[in-house]
């Protein structure tokens, strides 16, 4: 992963130089030199491939929520992931815009600025990891980075093959505020990663089309045998000091793990990061 990142960054700089010399939208027949990603799963995949990203929606927040792979240093912000600033987008003169299918601004609005590729992650089959793999292939083909794509998928297989000596079922949660939390179940990236690692997701309740459910603390207590895996930002001290929190069966059994931030709606790089963090915890 680190090696791929270095290699790709060098390539990115070279690509940007060539692009500025030729200064053309159509300089590369088929291989885009200026890519804008509006969705973070696509952005992180393109960053991992070393593709020439010029802008990512909500780029500053990406560093806090997605963390790795880091975006190229000069990556610009083009506004919201759901509704970017179209004028800022136009001013960047991209030759490819990558989005997630079914999320945010209708592709027809973007087509007037540059060619658009909208790749699916959350579909009726509810298999985001499989679609994330396919997105790596698609984006690698689109940017002419087949070797990097194969490398990324190989890194995923290595991460998923890592054995974790823990037979507890897991509850993957992220706090929405100090009383409510999101639990990731079937249909989420994390659920697929757990399954691929041979681990069990404890959550058996319903989930929405993004693969999570919003719940209260009492819902966590339904799974006393589970290990609680909290994704940062961690819950506030007021909650952690409360009698109710201490009464949670997972707390009493000492089965609570806190993981650094991982992007919950991510692609293959986030899947790798999640598997690695889980293994290291």
């Amino acid at each position: 992963m680190v090696g791929a990142g270095l290699l790709s960054r060098r390539r990115m700089v070279a690509g940007a130089l060539v692009a500025s010399v030729l200064s053309g939208r159509d300089a590369f027949a088929g291989v885009p030199g200026r890519i804008v990603a509006l969705d973070w799963a696509m952005a992180e995949t393109l960053a991992a491939l070393g593709a020439p990203l010029v802008a990512v929606a909500e780029a500053p927040l990406y560093a806090q929520r997605v963390v790795q792979p880091a975006l190229p240093a000069q990556t610009q912000d083009v506004g919201l992931r759901s509704w970017p600033n179209l004028e800022a987008l136009r001013a960047l003169r991209p030759d490819l815009i990558v989005t997630m299918e079914g999320y945010g601004i209708p592709p027809a609005r973007l087509e007037r600025i540059a060619p658009v590729r909208a790749l699916p992650l959350y579909s009726a089959e509810r298999k985001p990891l499989a679609l994330a793999r396919r997105a790596v292939g698609d984006l690698a083909a689109l940017t002419g980075r087949h070797a990097e794509g194969a490398q990324l998928l190989a890194a995923l297989d290595v991460a998923l093959a890592r054995g974790i000596p823990d037979d507890h079922p897991l509850l993957i949660v992220k706090f929405a505020d100090d009383r409510l939390l999101d639990v990731y179940g079937p249909g989420s990236l994390f659920h697929d990663v757990l399954a691929a690692m041979g681990l069990r997701n404890a959550w058996t309740g319903p989930t929405n089309s993004w693969g999570f459910a919003t719940a209260g603390l009492d819902q966590l207590a339904r799974y006393p045998a589970a290990r609680l895996v909290i994704i940062e930002p961690a819950p506030p001290a007021r909650l952690l000091n409360s009698a109710l929190w201490r009464a949670l069966p997972q707390m009493q059994a000492g089965q609570v793990t806190v993981l650094p931030p991982v992007w919950v709606f991510g692609g293959v790089p986030s899947a790798i990061r999640f598997a690695d963090l889980l293994g290291a915890a």
């Binding site: 929520r65 100090d178 009383r179 309740g205 319903p206 009492d218 819902q219 009464a247 009493q252 709606f265």
Partner: protein
Amino acid sequence: MRTVFRSALLPPAALIAAVVALTIWTLTVPGAAQDGLPDSFVRAWRAHALVPRVWVALLAGAALGLSALIFQQVLRNPLAEPGTLGVLSGAQLAITLASLGTVTLDPALREAVGLGGGLLALAAVVLLAGVRASGPVLLVAGLVVNLVIGSVFVVLALLRHEYLRSVFVWASGNLSQNGPDDAIALALRLAVLGPVLLLALRALVLFTLSDESIRGLGANVGRLRLAALVLATLLAAMVTARVGVIGFIGLAAPMIAQGLGIRTLQGRALAAPAVGAALLLAADGTAQALGRLLGEHVALIFPTGILTPVLGGAILLGLLWQRRIADRPVQPLAAPSRRPTLATALAIAVLIAAIALSLTETLHLPALAASELWGGRWPRVLTAASAGLMLALAGVVMQAVTGNPLASPESLGISSGAGLGIIAGLFAGGAAAMLAGAVAGALVAFAVVIVLAARNRFAPGPMLLAGVALGTFAGAMISLMIASGGDG
């Protein structure tokens, strides 16, 4: 008269019975959803979450009911309450501003900030309307302040949207508790403020007279009103700080107390908090029951603040249907401007300046040529101008037809009905069904308001009340959908 009174006792008795049953059910922690819970956790859950939650619902509902009653009494307007006068949204905005960047703010600090925001919003309303205003002018000023606060909120949400989720969760009113702190805090504050306000009732009875008569009795009207409003704002702000925005209790509780046939101020001062407490407990019990019954099928939490407009709105619309809400005379708005040409010229000048700026401004994007801006911008400018024009026309027509100076697409619930229709259309048939949904939603909302208004002989008060009830209901449904569609 007696039969009216007798039949009026039935609904509250039924409501109280339902509330008691719901509360007992929520406190027993049974059901498939909680199967397999360890005993130690069930005990802790009941002691630290369920029981405090009942107390918080009762105390917050009572505080909101009492606060609204004082507003309505000293302003002599049945529609003037913390919600319509911007106090709740002012408190909400101030607390949101103060808590940006930190996930949780100390509750006492939240209260102080909320009180400041609520008072500022109220001051803005009073200044806009004029110190002596009490009729429709005050409500229009409240509407304006609420709209301004709403747009500041939207700008804030766009700039700091990473906190949007938790803000929406809090703003939609969530009564879930972790420990007895909120219940104890609310009880202590009510224990101090309640008796003070009940003692002050003797003075507040004066407000059934005109300001001139009160002055004739040697009382300082302005100071009395100010003191009462500050205390009532304090009540509303402390509830907002603890549990978020619980809309509609304030509007509905005193109105229902009146609809029950309670005439004296002393009677209503006891009935309004009682109705408020019962309403909020019923709404919260319904929210918990829905969560428990549907918990196996849907992946979301039902916020209590969303069910209060549904429940309170249904009761209020029922009372309107039975013609139980007495109308108070609404004075006409101030005479139209004596210089219409000047006002019109000014409006046109502002319009032209706004259009010119919108089409040419490149403050943050020097890389785009004017010709490139033009193509993307004229549709937006045209859309915005047309939308404004159509809304203004709709307002003029509605005000003329209903003879009500406050009638507008917003105040009659038509805008919110259209908004709900758009979302329903989006769910049912995708983007193509949005327009049909908007039209259908607006027409249904309009039809309901007109039918209810017709039953009340198109009296201005009941008509606006029907519109507000409907609008808050639709708005509550919209925010439920936003809160459930989580992101980041």
